[in-house]
C-alpha cells in the first residue's frame, strides 16, 4: 500500500510540472502585466518597484522567471501577491477554508440524498415513484448550478428565511464559538443547497443504473435461491457491488472541490476561491493564479489517488499494483 501511494505520488510530479509550465506561459501570454500597471502608479517609488523586480526575478526573461518560481515552490513558498502585497498562501488560506467547507458540505449532502434515492428508484423500477425520482434527477442534471443559486437567492431574499452572502452576520465576539459556528452554517446553507441540487441528479442516475445492473446478475439469483432474506440480498450482495463505481466517482468529485463551486460562489457572494481567482486573473496577479491552478491540479491528483485506495479497501478483488 505504501509503495503504491509513493509511486503514484511520484507519477504526479511530471504532471504537476507540466501543469505549472503551461499555466506560467499562459499568464505570460497575457497582454501587459501587473508590473506595468504598478509602474504607472505615481504613489509607488521607483526604488520599491526595482526591489520587487529583483526579488521576483522579473527583470529576467520569462524562462528564468519560471525557474525562480519553481525553486520557491519546492520550499513551499508560493510567492507574493502583486495586488495585495501579502504572501499568496495567506490570501488563499482564508478563501480555501470557505471553499472546502462549502464543497464538503454539499458533497456530503449530495451523497446522503442521492444514494438512497438511487437505490429506491432501482427497487421500484417501472412505478410512478421511480419515474418521479428519475424526472427530478433529470431536471437536476440539466439545471445550471449558477441558475439554481440565482433562484435560491431570489427565494431567500423574498422570504428572508436564509441569509444571502458572506459567511457571518454582524455579531460581536461575545456570542461564543458555537453561536458563530451555527451562524456560519446558516450562511453556508444557501450555496451548499444550490450545489447539492445541481449535483445530485447524475449521482442518482448512476446509482440506479449500477444497482439495476447487479440486481439481475446470477449471484443475486443464487442468493435468493439460498433463501437469504431480501434485506441481506439487497444490501450485502447488490449494494456492495453497485457501490464500487461510485467510489471511483467520489474521488473525482473530491478533485473538483475547488473549481466546481466557483460560479455558485460568485452568484451567492460566498467568499471563496472562485471570487479570488476571478479577481486574480483579471488583475494578472501572476503568482496567485499559478498557486490556485497548482492547488487545483494537486487536489485532482490526490482525489484520484484517494479513489483508488478507497476502491481497494471496499473491493477485495482489487490489488494495488505499482
Amino acid at each position: 500500500m505504501k509503495r503504491f501511494i509513493a509511486s503514484r505520488l511520484l507519477q504526479a510530479v511530471p504532471l504537476l510540472f507540466g501543469m505549472s509550465l503551461v499555466s506560467f506561459f499562459i499568464i505570460q501570454l497575457a497582454p501587459g502585466d501587473y508590473f506595468s500597471q504598478l509602474k504607472l502608479n505615481p504613489e509607488i517609488s521607483t526604488q520599491t518597484i526595482q526591489a520587487m523586480e529583483r526579488s521576483f526575478g522579473l527583470d529576467k526573461p520569462p524562462v528564468i522567471q519560471y525557474f525562480y518560481w519553481l525553486k520557491n515552490i519546492c520550499t513551499f513558498n508560493l510567492g507574493e501577491s502583486f495586488a495585495y502585497h501579502v504572501p499568496v498562501w495567506f490570501l488563499i488560506r482564508s478563501k480555501l477554508v470557505n471553499t472546502v467547507a462549502l464543497s464538503l458540505f454539499s458533497l456530503f449532502l449530495t451523497w446522503l440524498i442521492a444514494i438512497p434515492l438511487g437505490i429506491a428508484a432501482a427497487r421500484r423500477e417501472g412505478t410512478w415513484q421511480e419515474r418521479l425520482i428519475s424526472f427530478f434527477a433529470y431536471v437536476g442534471i440539466s439545471l445550471p448550478s449558477f441558475f439554481i443559486a440565482m433562484l435560491m437567492v431570489f427565494f431567500a431574499a423574498k422570504t428572508l428565511i436564509l441569509p444571502v452572502g458572506g459567511t457571518t452576520s454582524l455579531f460581536g465576539p461575545e456570542i461564543g464559538f458555537w453561536a458563530h459556528f451555527g451562524d456560519y452554517l446558516r450562511h453556508l446553507l444557501l450555496p451548499g443547497l444550490a450545489l447539492t441540487l445541481a449535483g445530485f441528479g447524475s449521482l442518482v442516475r448512476l446509482m440506479k443504473n449500477n444497482f439495476l445492473e447487479f440486481l439481475s446478475s446470477p449471484f443475486v439469483v443464487t442468493a435468493r435461491a439460498k433463501g437469504l432474506p431480501e434485506r441481506t440480498v439487497l444490501y450485502k450482495h447488490v449494494l456492495r457491488n453497485a457501490i464500487n463505481p461510485m467510489i471511483t466517482l467520489f474521488g473525482y468529485e473530491l478533485s473538483g472541490i475547488l473549481s466546481g463551486a466557483a460560479l455558485v460562489e460568485v452568484v451567492t457572494n460566498w467568499p471563496g476561491m472562485g471570487r479570488l481567482i476571478l479577481d486574480a486573473v483579471m488583475a494578472q496577479d501572476l503568482y496567485l493564479v499559478m498557486a490556485s491552478l497548482l492547488i487545483g491540479g494537486a487536489l485532482l491528483i490526490i482525489g484520484n489517488l484517494v479513489a483508488d485506495i478507497l476502491l481497494a479497501v471496499v473491493d477485495p478483488r482489487i490489488r494495488l499494483r505499482t
Binding site: 511530471p14 504532471l15 504537476l16 507540466g18 501543469m19 503551461v22 499555466s23 499562459i26 499568464i27 501570454l29 497575457a30 497582454p31 428508484a121 423500477e125 428519475s134 433529470y138 431536471v139 442534471i141 440539466s142 439545471l143 445550471p144 449558477f146 441558475f147 440565482m150 433562484l151 437567492v153 431570489f154 431574499a157 423574498k158 444571502v164 452572502g165 442516475r205 440506479k208 443504473n209 439495476l212 473538483g256 475547488l258 473549481s259 466546481g260 466557483a262 460560479l263 460568485v266 452568484v267 457572494n269 472562485g274 481567482i277 476571478l278 486573473v281 483579471m282 494578472q284 493564479v289 490556485s292 491552478l293 487545483g296 491540479g297 485532482l300 491528483i301
Partner: protein, 354 residues
C-alpha cells in the same frame, strides 16, 4: 433518416419531443429578426423594469374578444417601480404586422414581424430590463449566440479530438505517449480556472465577433482532451479488426485508413457524445458571460442577461422576470440531454440506461 426518426419516436418519446423543442429554438434563433418584436438594443426609458405584459382575451368590463389584446401600462412610482394599467382602451395584438425595416440575417430587408401591437401600448411578453429593453426580444436574439456556440464549439473540439485520438491510437508508441501526456495535462487543470486563465491572455476590449470566436476556441481547447482519450481507446481495439488489415494490405496510406476506415466506425458513439457535450459549451459561454468575461453589452446572450442580477437583490426581488434567460438555458440543456439519451438507446440498444 426517416426510418431513424420513426424509431426514435417509437422508442423514446421524450427524445422525440426534445428534438422538436430544439428545432423550434434553433428556428427562432435563425428567424430572430422576424420573431422579436423589438431590436435587442432598443431602449424605452419610460418602461424600466416593466413587468411582463399580460395578453388578455376578456375586458375588465366583461366583453370577450377573439383577438388577444393588451392594456397600456404607465410608470406610477419610479422609486418602487410600480406600473399602473390603463383599462380604458384595448390594443389588439396582431400577427404579421409591418414595422421598421430590419435586415433578415443581415442580408434580406424585411418589414414583417411575427406579432406586434400599436406603438402606444408596447407588448413586453417577458417584461423589460433596467434600460427598458424588451427581454423577449433579447432572449430571441441572445439565443443566436448561446445556441450557435454549442454547435460550433463541439464541432471544433470533435475534429481535434477525433484527429488526435485517432492518430494516438493508431500509431501508438512514442506518438501515443506524447499526445496522451498532453491530454492528461490539459485535463488536470480545473476547467473553470483554465477557462479564466485562457480568457485573461486576451485583451478585454475585443470586438463582439472576436470575443465570440475567442470563447468558442477556448471552450474547444478545453473540451477536446477527454474526447481524444476515448477515441484513442476505441481506435486501439478497432485497429486489430480484419478490415483494417485488409485496407493496409491494399496499400492505403495510414492517414487514409484512420480517416476513412477507423473513424467512421466510432461514429455511433461520437454522435451521441456530440449531442451530450453540447450543454457543456452552452454552460461555458453563459458562465463566462455571467461574470462579465464573455459576450459584452449591448449584445445579448443568455449568460450576460443574467449578470445584472448578481449581487443586486433589489432588482432580483422587484423584477424576477430578469431570471427568464436561465429557464431557456435549462430548456436547451434538458432537450440536448434527452435527445442524447434517446440517440444512445436507438443506436446501441444493448446498453440500456434509465
Amino acid at each position: 433518416m426517416r426510418h431513424f426518426l420513426r424509431r426514435l419516436r417509437r422508442t423514446h418519446r421524450p427524445a422525440f419531443a426534445a428534438l422538436w423543442i430544439l428545432v423550434a429554438l434553433y428556428g427562432a434563433a435563425f428567424l430572430a429578426d422576424c420573431i422579436a418584436p423589438y431590436p435587442y438594443d432598443l431602449q424605452n426609458r419610460a418602461y424600466s423594469l416593466c413587468p411582463p405584459t399580460p395578453v388578455r382575451f376578456r375586458e375588465t368590463g366583461g366583453g370577450l374578444h377573439l383577438r388577444p389584446f393588451v392594456y397600456r401600462v404607465e410608470l406610477e412610482n419610479p422609486a418602487l417601480n410600480t406600473y399602473r394599467t390603463d383599462r380604458t382602451t384595448i390594443h389588439p395584438v396582431r400577427l404579421f404586422v409591418t414595422g421598421p425595416t430590419r435586415k433578415l440575417l443581415g442580408i434580406i430587408p424585411s418589414q414583417r414581424y411575427l406579432f406586434g401591437t400599436d406603438d402606444t401600448a408596447p407588448i413586453f411578453l417577458f417584461g423589460t430590463d433596467m434600460n427598458g429593453r424588451d427581454i423577449f426580444s433579447r432572449i430571441i436574439y441572445g439565443s443566436r449566440i448561446s445556441l450557435s456556440i454549442g454547435i460550433l464549439g463541439v464541432s471544433i473540439s470533435f475534429l481535434l479530438g477525433l484527429l488526435i485520438g485517432g492518430i494516438s491510437g493508431y500509431f501508438g508508441g512514442r506518438t501515443d505517449t506524447i499526445l496522451m501526456r498532453t491530454v492528461e495535462i490539459v485535463m488536470t487543470f480545473p476547467a473553470f480556472y483554465l477557462l479564466l486563465a485562457l480568457r485573461a491572455t486576451f485583451p478585454t476590449n475585443l470586438s463582439s465577433v472576436q470575443i465570440y470566436l475567442l470563447i468558442t476556441v477556448i471552450l474547444s481547447f478545453i473540451g477536446w482532451a477527454s474526447l481524444a482519450r476515448i477515441i484513442r481507446g476505441m481506435v486501439l481495439s478497432l485497429k486489430e479488426e480484419e478490415y483494417v488489415l485488409a485496407a493496409r494490405s491494399l496499400g492505403l496510406s495510414r492517414l487514409r485508413i484512420i480517416i476513412r476506415h477507423i473513424l467512421p466506425n466510432t461514429l455511433s458513439y461520437t454522435v451521441t457524445a456530440l449531442t451530450l457535450s453540447v450543454p457543456g459549451y452552452i454552460l461555458g459561454e453563459s458562465g463566462l458571460s455571467l461574470i462579465g468575461l464573455g459576450i459584452q453589452e449591448p449584445f445579448p446572450s443568455w449568460g450576460n442577461m443574467l449578470a445584472v442580477t448578481i449581487g443586486n437583490l433589489r432588482i432580483l426581488t422587484t423584477a424576477p422576470w430578469m431570471l427568464l434567460p436561465g429557464f431557456f438555458i435549462f430548456l436547451t440543456i434538458i432537450s440536448f440531454n434527452f435527445l442524447g439519451d434517446g440517440l444512445r438507446d436507438v443506436m446501441d440498444p444493448s446498453g440500456k440506461t434509465g
